[in-house]
């Protein structure tokens, strides 16, 4: 059963999901809810789907990634981070869907969508919120590899393409 918080004034929707999620279904539902709520249509939508990669940080094969959270605190913090970002970029609406528990390789772990009037705010807000979530979202990750679990200390780096 997902847990969620929402802030109608800022049109920020956040929820945690202990079971697998379909990112496109989440997006469709959210957009339908926005429409039903009378939200103004937006011309630009930015979407990010993060999935669990098949290797640990050290390169070993990954069985699954476990995400522990602190019920109550984690949802509240995600809501705050998303609200601040939405306000800074003056976007129309933000959606965050995040998995908890054991997440299999290839499964979606995070989905962020941003609606805005222009592509710039939509893309910038989505990018900034993702980076904020990577650093400040209160989750603890444990990589399971060959039946052994190891807590992850730190965040996965943002890897940019480099010129040859």
């Amino acid at each position: 059963m997902p847990t969620s918080t929402s802030n109608p004034a800022a049109l920020v929707s956040v929820s945690l999901h202990p079971d697998p999620i379909d990112p496109y279904q989440q997006l469709e539902q959210w957009q339908a809810e926005l429409g039903a709520g009378g939200a103004e249509g937006a011309a630009a939508t930015s979407l990010f789907i993060g999935r669990v990669r098949g290797r640990t940080a050290s390169g070993a094969p990954l069985d699954a990634l476990e995400l522990e959270h602190y019920p109550g605190l984690t949802e509240g913090q995600l809501q705050r981070l998303a609200s601040v970002c939405a306000c800074r970029h003056r976007v129309v609406a933000v959606m965050v869907r995040h998995r908890t528990g054991l997440v299999n390789c290839g499964d979606a772990i995070v989905v962020v969508a941003v609606l805005a009037d222009r592509r710039g705010p939509a893309q910038h807000c989505c990018q900034e919120l993702l980076e904020t979530l990577k650093h400040d979202a209160p989750f603890w990750k444990r990589e399971w590899s060959r039946g052994v679990g190891e807590w992850v200390m730190g965040n996965t780096p943002l890897v940019e393409a480099t010129a040859p």
Binding site: Y70, D136, F139, W140
Partner: protein
């Protein structure tokens, strides 16, 4: 002024009992996830409870401060290590987060 008034400001403060919770690697390093604790050093603060519970033996730090990266939450809101605790509070010690 009454002759029987105490020298210190106000009446004695009762020691608060708080629910202490640990998460992830810190929970596994100590072997427990939560317990009710009555503070022995007043005014009670997260840092004093950290030392009262001897959590530094499971998660060492330099000196008497909280270890780098360990955060505190009171009643499911991030808080400072010197924030006074009240009876019935939920205090959580959070090991370094690994993000979303």
């Amino acid at each position: 002024m009454s002759a029987s008034a105490p020298d210190s400001a106000g009446p004695p403060v009762a020691a608060p009992t708080v629910r202490v919770r640990l998460f992830a690697a810190l929970r596994e390093a100590t072997g427990w996830s939560e317990q009710q604790v009555t503070a022995t050093a007043l005014p009670a603060t997260p840092l004093k409870l950290w030392h009262q519970l001897d959590l530094a033996s499971a998660w060492p730090a330099d000196g008497a401060a909280m270890p780098a990266g360990v955060r505190v939450a009171i009643n499911r809101q991030f808080a400072e290590v010197h924030t006074p605790l009240a009876d019935g509070d939920e205090l959580a010690f959070l090991p370094p987060i690994s993000g979303g």
